[in-house]
């Protein structure tokens, strides 16, 4: 369709303007481009025995799975200091034990798995561990094997699975059985105030964090992955 307009400009010039319109078959392409960065949150997608609820944040090319965990398996070396067992990640001589740290209610933990489609399968693109406060601020725990952006240095394990459920479970299993060593370690002082255990006759009880505000022992983080975490 073509429309012609005659315009009289302020300076008296008379101008012809022709407007040509045609419908483009590009609606789907434009819609995809506009939605490229849009993600959608879906709560309570899975419930994993021994771990907890799993929420999803689905993007156009990937899905971020947030597992709300209440504990951290700490397979590491420990040292007894004044009757309290604390991690000694860099030690070669202290006793090695698979202790489980129970998070207090004010520390909300999210174990995160990013998956991408890989032909007909699901590929793990990364694992992260975030601690969040009540206002959804993200923090890096004082742990080794965690990069500054909270990405976990997981070690090698298979990346491709038939379902997302299997991918999340495989990531958690790797997280459970991996040893915490001194890779990416900064100072152990914060770790030893955060992760404390009381040996009892039958088990090891998690002790409260030795700080008035647990966040003072962590580093605040802000990343595009953290933005998509669902708690």
């Amino acid at each position: 369709m073509e429309t012609t307009e005659i315009i009289i400009k302020d300076n008296g010039t008379i101008t012809e303007r022709t407007i040509r319109e045609r419908d483009l078959d590009a609606g789907k392409l434009v819609q995809e481009a506009l939605n490229e960065a849009v993600t959608r949150t879906i709560r309570n997608v899975l419930s994993l025995p021994n771990w907890g609820l799993v929420h999803a944040n689905a993007g156009s090319g990937d899905t971020l799975w947030s597992v709300v965990i209440g504990q951290i398996p700490l397979h590491a070396r420990f040292r007894l200091v004044n009757g309290v067992l604390v991690p000694a990640f860099a030690s070669d001589t202290e006793i090695e034990m698979p202790l489980v740290w129970q998070a207090p209610s004010e520390v909300r933990l999210a174990f995160v798995v990013l998956t991408e489609p890989d032909q007909d399968r699901v590929k793990i693109a990364g694992n992260w561990l975030f601690a969040c406060d009540q206002d959804n601020r993200g923090f890096r725990l004082p742990l080794p094997n965690l990069h500054d952006d909270c990405r976990i240095c997981t070690g090698e394990f298979p990346a491709c699975y038939d379902t997302a459920n299997q991918a999340v479970l495989a990531s958690l299993e790797q997280f459970r059985k991996s040893k915490w060593n001194s890779d990416l370690m900064r100072t152990v002082e914060r770790s030893q105030k955060f992760f404390r255990f009381q040996p009892t006759n039958e088990s090891f009880q998690t002790l409260p964090i030795e700080a008035s505000d647990w966040r003072s022992l962590c580093d605040k983080v802000s990343t595009d992955v953290m933005e998509r975490v669902v708690l």
């Binding site: 206002d135 601020r137 990069h147 500054d148 952006d149 990405r151 580093d219 605040k220 983080v221 802000s222």
Partner: protein, 73 residues
Amino acid sequence: MKNITVKYGVDSITKQVPDDFTFGDLQESDMFKAALGFGDRTKALVEGIEQDRGTVIPAGATVRLETAANTKA
């Protein structure tokens, strides 16, 4: 002087800074670090695009800081 807004996670702050204030100045600013709680390794983004440290921040800009990933030694 000019106003800029800086976001780090869910927190944000709007402050007046000198006209020649750069993204690098922001990333090294103890005042912004204390207010928003970011550390030494960050990247600065405007509208999702990472900015060079030497670039002057435009007046009225909203800068999003993100934690930069480190690598294993």
